[in-house]
């Protein structure tokens, strides 16, 4: 389990007039064993700093990171290096050793801890098999495609049998097809070994594809966190809505509706409800006349979602509408404040 508690990281600023930049402010996240935990945010949100605080490549200014109850900040350099065998990392740029063969890249972390050569080699061959490149042992990284290089990097990260795998924008340099095959591999490994995976990304699709839990990072702050389906179907923060409904109008006011209207978001989860004439039914059944202010559809995992923002004229209409809509199967509705 990774417990990030009140983590703050400030950097000395290089911009004139500003002395410090707060990259992370009071971040608290708990990641359970076996999770594939997504940390998503725009560039500059502090994602990379956050993931580097987990293995102490960046020292937090304040707050703690506990891995299975151990406070990494209190470890000596030597103890920290030993701890890092359990928390390995893959990168956007793969970061393979270009002058070594793939096999030698994978044995690298084992060399660091003095594993006997034959044993390291055997383990590396096993891992090459696992990542689907058993014939690339003697090849050099320059001879591989980006996706293959990332597979070698994954094999290397797994060599010491870590409990946690940190992925820092691991698929951002790859094309969509390769991205999904790499994500599939990570998911398989998670299912097979129970390894905890922390995925840093700016791509919604990555979180949708493999994560079970997610935290949305915005301006160094956790805007919201929770179950992926919950967060993505009902984003409660402005940052969340920006990510989940990039095209929907409700994060730019005004939307199509009167300025004194109340707004609610309806989320449809499943085909049955999407086919029903829900808004007409609502007008007939409870007498609430609503106008459509914004609409979008989205595929999250194997579920289809549709999201509508409705405008109604009064607070009592809003309450009636919420009660009516939430009584329907696979439909949920929440009031939204347009300008927050």
């Amino acid at each position: 389990m990774i417990e990030i508690r009140n983590l703050t990281k400030t950097f000395r600023s290089s911009t004139e007039g500003i002395e410090y930049v707060e990259a992370l402010k009071n971040v608290s996240i708990t990641i359970n064993d076996g999770d594939i935990f997504g940390i998503i945010g725009m560039s500059g949100a502090g994602k990379s700093t956050l993931v580097r605080c987990i293995n102490m490549l960046e020292r937090p200014t304040d707050g703690t990171v506990l891995i299975d109850g151990v406070d990494l900040k209190k470890l000596s350099e030597k103890e920290l290096r030993a701890a890092r065998k359990n928390v390995t990392m893959i990168f956007q740029g793969f970061n393979l050793l270009m002058q070594r063969t793939c096999l030698k890249n994978i044995t690298f972390p084992l060399e660091l801890i003095g594993t006997p050569k034959a044993e390291a080699r055997r383990r590396a061959m096993e891992l090459l098999e696992l990542v689907g490149l058993p014939d690339k042992a003697g090849a050099y990284p320059a001879q591989l495609s980006g996706g293959q290089q990332q597979r070698i990097a994954i094999a290397r990260a797994l060599a010491t049998d870590p409990k946690i795998l940190l992925c820092d924008e691991a698929t951002s340099a790859l094309d969509p097809a390769t991205t999904s095959s790499i994500l599939q591999l990570i998911k398989e490994i998670n299912e097979k070994t129970g390894i905890t995976v922390v995925v840093i990304t700016h791509q919604m699709s990555v979180v949708e594809d493999i994560c079970n839990r997610v935290a949305i990072l915005d301006g160094g702050v956790v805007a919201e966190q929770g179950d992926v389906r919950e967060v993505f179907s009902h984003p409660s923060s402005a940052a969340g809505r920006r990510l989940v409904y990039p095209e929907s109008a409700d994060n730019e006011s005004p939307i199509i509706g009167g300025s004194n209207q109340k707004f609610l978001r309806i989320v449809f989860e499943g085909a049955a409800s999407a086919n029903a004439p829900l808004i007409a039914d609502m007008a007939i059944d409870v007498g609430v006349r609503a106008n459509i202010a914004a609409a979008s559809t989205k595929q999250i995992g194997d579920h289809a979602y549709a999201s509508l923002v409705l405008g109604v004229d009064s607070y009592s209409d809003l309450e009636k509408a919420l009660e009516y809509l939430n009584s329907k199967p696979d439909v949920s509705a929440k009031e939204v404040h347009i300008n927050d």
């Binding site: 490549l57 290096r81 065998k85 270009m98 002058q99 001879q143 010491t160």
Partner: protein
């Protein structure tokens, strides 16, 4: 000077000198160059590593004052002209070799002149290593020494070889200059016969041999650098 090139007698005379002295002189030039380069690498390589690793953001940060001192020493030694340096290091040469003239004695000033140069070349090579690669090693729990020995140096081998080639050809040129203080080799022949005794044919022959040696070292070095670089798809 040109006249002597068309004078049959001077050709016969030159051939006699070339026949009797050039084999030894060429051998002396090669062994002085290789030995000096080897000693200079022994000092310059670790120094170059320190110049990179010891920085504030390096893998093995050293006290800022020490880094400053190392840089100043390297710069001073690099800025003294070799001819002056040979004379300045006489006391050290006498201490190490017992004499200040002769072929073995010329190795001492050559090493002193070459190691700061090599340190700077090594520094340049190591700086080419991608910082992300070093971060990768840190993330896997590598110690500063492991990063230096297993990442920084092996990853910059092709660059180290081509810089080593620059070093050896430069040292070859310096070794010719050491003919002035009695260091043996092709330089001494060129100076003694050409400059002091106006035997220009001998001088040109010595210079041509030096050029050939530089060519040989350079093309060998370039070939090795390319062959060693696994980033290239062979």
């Amino acid at each position: 000077m040109i006249d002597s090139l068309f004078n049959g007698a001077s050709w016969a005379d030159a051939w006699r000198i070339i026949e009797s002295e050039f084999l030894l002189a060429t051998w002396e030039t090669i062994y002085v160059t290789i030995l000096s380069t080897a000693f200079a690498i022994i000092i310059g390589l670790p120094l170059g590593v320190l110049l990179v690793a010891g920085e504030k953001n390096g893998v093995l940060p050293l006290p800022a004052g020490l880094m400053k001192a190392l840089n100043v020493i390297v710069n001073i030694l690099r800025s003294v002209p070799f001819l002056i340096l040979m004379i300045l290091v006489f006391p050290l040469t006498r201490l190490v070799v017992g004499t200040v003239v002769g072929t073995p004695a010329s190795i001492v000033p050559l090493v002193i002149a070459a190691f700061p140069f090599i340190a700077r070349l090594v520094e340049g090579s190591l700086r080419e290593v991608n910082p992300n690669t070093i971060e990768m090693a840190q993330s896997l729990g590598a110690s500063p020494m492991q990063i230096i020995i297993r990442v920084m140096i092996p990853e910059s081998v092709p660059s180290l070889i081509s810089n080593g080639t620059i070093a050896i050809t430069t040292i070859l040129g310096y070794s010719a200059m050491s003919g002035i203080i009695g260091g043996g080799g092709l330089g001494k022949i060129a100076i003694n016969y050409g400059y002091y005794r106006y035997k220009y044919v001998v001088m040109f022959a010595a210079v041509i041999l030096l050029v050939v040696l530089v060519q040989v070292f350079q093309s060998l070095g370039t070939k090795m650098a390319i062959r060693s670089d696994k980033r290239l798809k062979h």
